[in-house]
């Protein structure tokens, strides 16, 4: 279970502050799939970072009663100058897994082959997404935070994600930020529409998508 209570986040901007999220409430139960909708800059990534504990809210509280993944997105979580294998080793160590146990899965899922011996900064966003997904799936979380990143992969990656995440781990909770109506409609039970710092939760995803299209 994750609860966000009156979560507010602002960043310094010039002499004032830019209010990104304003007194947002959100409750995510185990196994629930929540879509995040909103225009560019509406605060989807910020909210995911706050839920993941990457950044701290300016005010308000976030409680995590389940094992939440790090935000799987285009950036973050990796050290660019280290190789894919080194990053895998590092992440295995800090999450208390045997590297040898997850290595096979990472090689198989990413299909990066010898590229895993190259520094991560030489990877394309699709390749980074593969590595991030492979590692987070190997570590097994109760809740996955996904920021757009599914869309950057190719068809083969989609298929694998689909199987590993939505079928094999369909019982896990999911927070999915996305601009793709199809993805949200297919996989989410509820959706949160972010607009001008305020969040509105819709129990019917289609209602949320309708509102989102008019923004």
């Amino acid at each position: 279970m994750i609860t966000c209570e009156r979560v507010t986040k602002s960043y310094p901007m010039g002499h004032g502050r830019k209010q990104v999220l304003n007194a947002l409430d959100l409750h995510i139960s185990p196994g629930e799939h929540v879509g995040l909708l909103g225009r560019n800059g509406a605060g989807k990534t910020t909210l995911i970072k706050l839920i993941g504990g990457v950044e701290m809210p300016t005010s308000g509280k976030i409680r995590r009663k389940m094992n939440v993944s790090w935000p799987l997105g285009f950036t973050g979580g990796f050290q660019g100058s280290l190789t894919g294998y080194d990053n895998a080793r590092f992440i295995a160590r800090i999450y208390g897994h045997e590297y040898t146990d997850i290595r096979g899965f990472v090689e198989e899922f990413t299909e990066l082959g010898p590229q895993l011996k190259m520094p991560v900064k030489t990877y394309s966003s699709g390749m980074k997404a593969r590595l991030a997904f492979a590692l987070s799936l190997a570590i097994e979380f109760d809740c996955y935070l996904i920021d757009e990143v599914i869309m950057v992969g190719d068809a083969n990656f989609h298929k694998k994600c689909h199987y590993e995440l939505f079928e094999k781990r369909g019982d896990r909770a999911l927070v999915l930020a996305s601009h793709s109506p199809e993805l949200v409609r297919e996989f989410c039970d509820r959706a949160l529409v972010l607009h001008q710092g305020h969040g509105t939760i819709y129990t019917d995803v289609n209602d949320a998508l309708e509102v989102y299209q008019t923004l």
Partner: protein
Amino acid sequence: MGTLAQGWRSQRRVIGALMIRELVTRFGRENIGFLWMMVEPLLFAILVGFLWRLMKGPEDHGISVFAFVATGYIPLTLFRHCATRSIRVINVNSSLMYHRQIKLQDFIFVRVLIEVIGGCMAYVFIATVLGLIGEFPVPADMGAFLLGWLLYCVFVLALCMVMAPLSEMSDVLEKILPVATYIQIPASGAFNMMSWLTPQAQNALYYSPFVHPMELMRYGVFGARVNAKWDLSVTIVWTVVFMAIGLILCRRIRRNLVVE
């Protein structure tokens, strides 16, 4: 108790992983890698030792100049390296905040720990080499030496806990660090014993946190041949105060940290 033990295990895993990561990014996998850590204090001790020997002769106040320079320079370079490496350490590592079990104090701790390990290795190596040519004594009181070294390292850690978050708040620290470490030399106790100084100077330096562990380390190495005096409570008070301020500052920085 269960959660405490879990937390401890997790903390150890994080520190271990960060150490390896830091060593790989800093020294790479090839060449002599980690051994580079010892080279700088080694060169300092030997080259400055030669210089002093030419200027002052083989002995100063009855102790080998080489040994005296080495016992001063190794802790001094440790402090300088730690200070330099704690500048912006939070910013350059901020992408690690993606993993909640990693705290930003861990970055500071790991960098200081690596320097301390390098310093220990350098010390053992230099003392052995100088000892073989008869320029370094067998330590008179190993316990006193280790206590001094430990306290010195803990104080440096506390200082870095303050410097790292301060360097994120303002660039001033980075700009003044070179001159500050230069000005610090007389207060470091590295190049003279307290007993060689005038009473006024001794009174002033009494408040320096560096001097007391340095005197204790020198006593541990040279024994009664140096008239060492120390009051560890001075250093302990500084350490506790810096550590408390540092942790508060780190907390503030963490709250406002923006991670890409």
